[in-house]
């Protein structure tokens, strides 16, 4: 039953990924989009697109009936669920099949079985797959600690708690149940031993309807933050090191898949210790985010195989061989230094030089890019903040790490704070290069150090100078008169030109004079201006010539150089007094929804007292009183949608 057109019931990079393979195979594509995604790249790339009215996932991407209707309306005869959303929803898989459409995924029963962590673990144990013993939450003893509380229906770290002290267990169970209930509609939780320094190893499996089951290859995804994978690679450094581990691992994965009559692409996840002992964690009955590392090491298009299997075709006779090493990093719009706070805004530019988009081979550059965004994309608060995956392949692991770090460091990412600098620091870390990766990597090596910007204070200062000189060029080019006269020319010189930029680390005041003999900069001797345009400034400092690429978006000035990226905000020469905020004004730290207000106008408040709560990016943020005082103004009420920087309340301090 040949598929002619696929509806991709997803968004972002995975939607583009599926569309890319379909296009190569000559299969038609249908995208779906929420109102927030109307201009998203996946919508533009598909042959047809169907609107899902609303913004929240519950209104849109999580509505099986709308998706099936969209497929029918746009003439799709198959549905690919991507990952997340409804990809592991057995009910949806059944409905798709019931509507006469082809489901590009495993049988609904396999999804359902593996969806229950408790049930699946029992089944795996029966099939001879090593599992961590399930512990009864009510009978945990001191020497079983630490334990991990997990939601049975969970995933993505939600509903998960680590308990190290027995008296914390009760509270952890309550909160894990509540979170599981709200996230998955199912409050069952269970406990198991917590391996604090384990390695996360998983095996990609692929099975057809004719009984063939492949263990395609393993991946290691040990470097995680808050149980979210950040760096993933194939093969696993641990598996490479321990003799015979791969055979045992593959055997266990094949048993797991076979035990549930699996078909299509799936991933069996294990937790391993340093000696190579491993335990079954769960099986993900879908294509994984990190599937590209397997594709690059095996040269296999897993999406194409998924489609072939869905069409009833048998897998090829030979399982693909693995060669070389691939590493993937997930580029998130988040600030690792601010407790991974998700970021939103307009991503003005995202540029990685010489990458292959969704390619199976990385060709000369060695870099593959699976990106859900384009220049100008708006990163909203509604969905996962992952922007793109960047994947490197090389014959050796260290070479892959080096080229990936290099590509990331040189990438132009403007408009939104990302974890890019952290990723580069991880990829260049001696422990990472030595293959010493485990789930506690950030704790062990210090998030403070790892999340430091690549650009140091000196780089920031040079970047501010470059920004000033580029802005000077921009001003000259935009001048209505005398545009080609020398910049800032004076017949009587009295003072330098002044430009001020704010950065995350402080304020830079650049005082410079351009003259016949180049530039003179206050407080900086021995700097030579070699060349400047509004986009690029070549400066020689300390006898070394470097080029700074400068891009400006409104007040935002992004300066990229081999010394590291710097984001600056140009400070206007003048401020309109009517635009100045009253003292004690509290502004929204990000766009979001006011969910609760605890005070009223006229209330006396104490320093740090929470006044109201804002929900953004699925997290609650308390807005607190900056000082003891009185609530002079309260401009919002519960339910209000607020923009970044909106004044929420004004607290007049009592002096």
């Amino acid at each position: 039953m040949a598929i002619t057109s696929v509806l991709v019931a997803n968004r972002g990079e995975i939607a583009r990924r599926v569309i890319s393979t379909c296009r190569r195979l000559g299969i038609g594509t249908v995208a779906v989009f929420s109102d927030a995604d109307a201009d998203a790249p996946h919508v533009r790339e598909a042959d047809a697109a169907v609107r899902l009215p609303g913004v929240s996932p519950a209104e849109t991407y999580l509505r099986p009936e709308l998706l099936i209707k969209a497929a029918a309306g746009a003439g799709a005869d198959a549905i690919h669920p991507g990952y997340g959303f409804l990809s592991e929803n057995a009910g949806f898989a059944e409905q798709v099949a019931g509507a006469g459409l082809t489901w590009i995924g495993p049988p609904a029963k396999a999804i359902a079985t593996m969806g229950s962590k408790i049930e699946s673990k029992r089944l795996m144990a029966d099939a001879g797959v090593p599992v961590l013993a399930e512990l009864d939450p009510d009978e945990i003893t001191e020497d079983q600690l630490p334990v991990l509380v997990k939601a049975s229906a969970g995933g993505g770290g939600r509903g998960m708690r680590v308990v190290r002290e027995l008296d914390e267990l009760g509270a952890a169970l309550i909160s894990a149940r509540a979170e599981a209930a709200s996230a998955f509609g199912e409050e069952t939780v269970f406990c198991e031993r917590f391996l604090a320094t384990g390695r996360h190893i998983e095996v990609q499996v692929m099975a057809d309807a004719h009984g063939a089951v492949w263990a395609v290859g393993e991946r290691e995804c040990s470097i995680q933050r808050r149980h979210q994978k950040v760096v993933e690679e194939a093969p696993s450094p641990l598996v490479e090191r321990v003799d015979g581990m791969r055979e045992r691992l593959f055997d266990a994965a094949v048993r797991a898949a076979s035990a549930v009559g699996y078909q299509g692409a799936g991933t069996v996840e294990f937790l391993a210790d340093e000696r190579g002992e491993f335990f079954f964690l769960e099986m993900n009955t879908r294509l994984q985010v990190e599937h590209p590392v397997t594709e690059l090491t095996t040269g296999t298009d897993l999406v194409a195989l998924q489609i072939a299997v869905a069409e009833g075709a048998p897998l090829p006779a030979e399982r693909p061989e693995s060669r070389g090493h691939a590493i993937e990093v997930r580029l998130y719009a988040e600030d690792p230094a601010q407790e991974w706070q998700p970021q939103s805004g307009t991503l003005h530019t995202v540029e990685l030089a010489n990458t292959v988009q969704f390619g199976l081979s990385t060709q000369d550059s060695g870099i593959r890019l699976d990106s859900g965004v384009d220049n100008g994309s708006v990163v909203s608060v509604h969905y996962d903040p992952m922007l793109a995956k960047v994947i490197a392949w090389a014959p050796e692991r260290t070479a892959a790490a080096r080229s990936l770090a290099g590509a990331l460091a040189a990438a132009k990412i403007h408009g939104v704070v990302t974890n890019r600098d952290l990723l580069v620091r991880v990829l260049r870390h001696p422990a990472f290069l030595a293959g010493d990766t485990d789930t506690a990597f950030f704790d062990r090596h210090g998030l403070d150090t790892l999340s430091e910007p690549l650009a140091d204070a000196e780089t920031e200062s040079l970047a501010a100078l470059a920004a000033a000189l580029a802005d000077a060029e921009r001003n000259r080019a935009a001048a209505r008169v005398n545009g080609r006269l020398p910049s800032g020319w004076r017949n009587v010189v009295s003072q330098p030109q002044v430009k001020v930029y704010d950065s995350a680390s402080g304020t830079h005041e650049v005082r410079y004079l351009l003259g016949r003999s180049g530039v003179t900069v206050e407080g900086r001797d021995g700097v030579r201006l070699v060349e400047s345009t509004m986009d690029s400034v070549a400066l020689e400092a300390g006898g070394v010539l470097r080029r700074f690429e400068v891009r400006r978006y409104g007040a935002l000035v992004c300066v990229d150089s081999p010394l590291g990226p710097v984001a600056l905000t140009a400070v206007e020469r003048f401020t309109d007094p009517s635009a100045v905020l009253a003292e004690g004004s509290l502004v929204a730290p990000m766009p979001g929804t006011v969910i609760r207000v605890a005070v009223a106008e006229g209330d006396e408040v104490t320093e740090n007292q929470p006044l109201l709560w804002l929900e953004a990016m699925k997290m609650e943020h308390a807005v607190r009183a900056p000082a003891d005082g009185v609530v002079a103004e309260l401009g919002v009420s519960a339910g209000a949608q607020v923009e970044l920087g909106a004044v929420l309340a004004v607290v007049t301090p009592t002096s």
Binding site: A479, N482, R490, N491, R516, F574
Partner: protein, 532 residues
């Protein structure tokens, strides 16, 4: 198109010596400029800053567009007088929101910004430039008013200031006053006569008579704020159109006013795709010899000033002590007259008269590059009609209505100064190089003439003529005339608009031409009767 070739040997000893001499003079002038910039000196500057105020030049720098050029005018006004160099005032042409404006700022660190006779002259010159070139003006006011001991030189002529403001307004050239501090008595008419007035809260003080005078006149008790505070003028009298919260805010408001002037230049726009000169302007330092007796080829200057060094010479084989021809400077078409060997003969005079008429025929601005010792004297020349030929040139220059710009590169002596559009012939701008000298004649010639006349007088009276006294007299006269011919002296007298670094000539011409094109460019319909 004719691209000028250069024969300057930048490696020669002569070039190096010329350059050293020029750099020496530039250093001297920089020193004098620094005096003007220092204003009233450290003590008063500190006091002013301690009051939270910006210096005059800081106000100007904030007012003009970032990274735009600013041409300060008459920076050495009052040089050699009893007053501080710069005459307690900053004037210049700056670009505000893309509009070229004449900016005037009193310097409150010099005697509270009070106006002395040189300040008044400097202000007049700025007002002339605004009127002739149709430039909006912005007045940054903080002045104690007239310097009372010299009121006789200020009060009566000074009334022109207010007349100029309203005439400018009537000519549809807007005037803006930003009041930072005192602007009282007569000074109150500065905002009073301006189209737009911004006053700084708690700083501006604008009234005809202060509390003591009011008390004496009517017995009324009052205070500064109720008589002339910014709040009062913004809310009650209506003299202030905008109330600024501080100095920076006043400048912000000033800029926003200019932005909304809907300003259009009346002259033709320049061609923007021009080439920079093929020869390095840096060489201009070594081209002019320190001794003006040695002539230099003005084409070497033109080659370093005009676009692409492209100069089409007119009548190259006739009257070749004067070079005439066409070029563009920063995209503006110009005709150039440049003295080549100092002396103007009948041929040169007639050539100039024709060339000036041609420029008027095609509405082309003219640039005069001075290095002349005057019209030729002597029997043959007088008999050849040098007076009437010189008169033709002066007639043409006087009645030409295309804009003129004069640059004094070297000598500008005698009637040659007139024929080449000297100060009295109202060039739109006149700038001097540090090497320039101007007087009725050279110091030695003048001393020699006096000596001959004195000797003849003694002879006719039958008296002995003391050679020793003659030598002393000649030396004294030579020194005096030399000193009074120097550019700093002439600049101090406001006989030029400033002394410029020769390397900046192209930039200064570019700015001047762009300024001039705010007004229409129109050649004369007729001239005086040319004596044939």
């Amino acid at each position: 198109m004719t691209q000028l070739k250069s024969t300057v040997d930048t490696g020669s000893d002569e070039f190096a010596a010329n350059r050293d001499a020029m750099l020496g003079k530039l250093t001297e002038i920089e020193g004098e400029h620094a005096k003007a910039v220092a204003g009233g000196g450290e003590k008063y500057v500190t006091r002013h800053r301690d009051r939270g105020k910006l210096l005059a030049r800081e106000r100007v720098e904030l007012l003009v567009d970032e990274d735009s050029p600013f041409l300060e005018l008459s920076p050495l006004a009052g040089w050699g007088s009893d007053y501080k160099v710069g005459a307690s005032m900053v004037t210049g042409i700056g670009v505000v929101e893309g509009v070229e404006c004449v900016i005037t700022a009193s310097d409150p660190t010099v005697k509270g910004g009070s106006m002395n006779p040189w300040s008044v002259k400097k202000g007049f010159r700025a007002a002339d430039i605004a009127a002739q070139n149709r430039l909006p003006s912005i007045n940054l006011v903080e002045s104690g008013g007239a310097d009372l001991p010299t009121q006789k030189e200020i009060f009566i002529p000074g009334g022109r200031t207010f007349r100029d403001l309203t005439r400018s307004s009537a000519a549809k050239i807007p005037t803006v006053a930003l009041v930072f501090g005192n602007s009282t008595a007569g000074g109150a008419y500065l905002p009073g006569m301006s189209d737009y007035v911004v006053m700084v809260k708690e700083r501006a003080k604008v009234f005809l008579g202060g509390p003591p005078l009011v008390k004496m006149a009517t017995g009324e008790e009052s205070d500064d704020e109720s008589l002339g505070g910014a709040e009062m003028h913004a809310r009650t009298s209506g003299l202030a159109d905008y109330l600024a919260v501080d100095e920076k805010d006043a400048i912000r408001l000033g800029r926003s006013i200019v932005k909304r002037l809907n300003w259009r230049k009346h002259g033709p726009a320049p061609e923007l795709s021009y080439d920079e000169p093929m020869h390095d302007p840096e060489d201009l330092l070594g081209i002019v010899p320190p001794d003006l007796k040695t002539p230099f080829d003005p084409r070497e200057v033109i080659a370093r000033v005009v676009d692409g060094s492209d100069f089409d010479e007119f009548k190259p084989l006739y009257g070749n002590s004067l070079v005439t021809g066409w070029a563009t400077v920063h995209g503006y078409p110009v005709g150039i007259l440049a003295n080549a060997r100092g002396v103007l003969f009948s041929e040169e005079s007639q050539k100039a008269a024709q060339f000036i008429q041609l420029a008027n025929q095609t509405d082309t601005p003219l640039i005069f590059l001075h290095n002349t010792t005057g019209y030729m004297v002597g029997k043959d020349y007088e008999q050849g009609g040098i007076i009437k030929h010189g008169a033709m040139m002066i007639n043409a220059v006087s009645n030409s209505t295309v804009p003129h710009i004069s640059i004094l590169m070297g000598a500008s002596y005698g009637a040659g100064h007139y024929g080449m559009c000297g100060r009295a012939y109202d060039p739109r701008f006149l700038f001097a190089w540090p090497s320039a000298k101007s007087a009725v004649m050279g110091p030695q010639q003048l001393a020699g003439v006096l000596s001959i006349v004195a000797r003849a007088a003694a002879q006719s009276r039958g008296q002995d003529y003391s050679e020793e006294n003659d030598k002393a007299m000649r030396s004294m006269v030579e020194n005096q005339i030399e000193a009074e011919s120097l550019p700093m002296f002439l600049s101090g007298m406001l006989y030029d608009d400033g002394i410029i670094d020769p390397r900046d000539t192209r930039t200064v011409l570019g700015m001047s031409l762009s300024t001039i094109h705010n007004g229409p460019i129109k050649g004369a319909d007729g001239f005086g009767v040319f004596r044939m």
